[in-house]
């Protein structure tokens, strides 16, 4: 199996994501770890609340992974996304790409997070001390 895609309301296990892609054929592993920032435009963020349309989100993440395997010589891909309430510093997303050579791993990892943010039906609400807002909902 080349691809491991999961949505979970439990804390993401970064080390096991890395372990899953390790293999003697790989020359490099690229990892992107998204973390909850404690401020947005100088406003203090109390927490983020993530929600997913799970079946479609899994399907869209699989599409991204298949496209990546077609376009770049990468060997293994992990995409794990968290749902539920996250505090600043916690990890909502982990993407790991293993490849024989580092160029493909860097490029593919960047492509996966950029595309995920555009197409995968997952939403976050930023909660401030004085209110909340669904990110990207309004122009």
């Amino acid at each position: 199996m080349k691809v491991d895609i999961q949505i979970s309301d439990e804390p993401l296990q970064i080390q096991s994501c890395i372990d899953w892609v390790m293999s003697p054929e790989c020359g490099g592993i690229n990892i992107f770890i998204g973390t909850v920032r404690n401020n947005t435009q100088h406003k203090k963020v109390v927490r983020l609340e993530f929600e997913a349309y799970e079946t479609m989100a899994i399907s869209e993440m699989n599409k991204i992974a298949r496209e990546v395997l077609d376009r770049w010589p990468v060997q293994k891909i992990v995409i794990h996304h968290r749902t539920g309430v996250l505090q600043p510093g916690e990890v909502p997303v982990v993407i790991v790409v293993a490849a024989a050579h580092r160029d493909a791993a860097f490029t593919a990892c960047r492509y996966i997070i950029d595309t995920l943010k555009q197409t995968v039906p997952i939403w976050k609400k930023e909660v401030f001390e004085d209110g909340d807002v669904w990110v990207a909902a309004h122009p």
Binding site: G34, Y53, M56, A57, K117, T119, P121, W123, A137, H138
Partner: protein, 78 residues
């Protein structure tokens, strides 16, 4: 016809699922028209997509009675 809602659309509908009167084989465009009349706040979003059976749909696509239909506001994962 049952329509699933997520994110800010859940707040606009005040529910995670609503029931809309829509003929079998209506288009996505027709659904948008009916929804925006009932929930004008939808037009204040940057944009929104309609998904049929877990796939993004275009305006001319037909919706059948047993389809799983969802309203997808601008996504913000990651």
């Amino acid at each position: 016809m049952k329509i699933l809602a997520f994110g800010i659309v859940k707040e606009i509908f005040d529910d995670s699922m609503i029931d809309i009167d829509l003929d079998n084989e209506s288009t996505v465009e027709a659904l948008r028209f009916v929804l925006e009349k009932k929930y004008p706040q939808l037009t204040e979003l940057g944009s929104y997509m309609v998904a049929i059976n877990n796939e993004y749909a275009s305006g001319g696509d037909a919706i059948y009675t047993n389809d799983e239909v969802a309203i997808i506001p601008p996504v913000s994962g990651g």
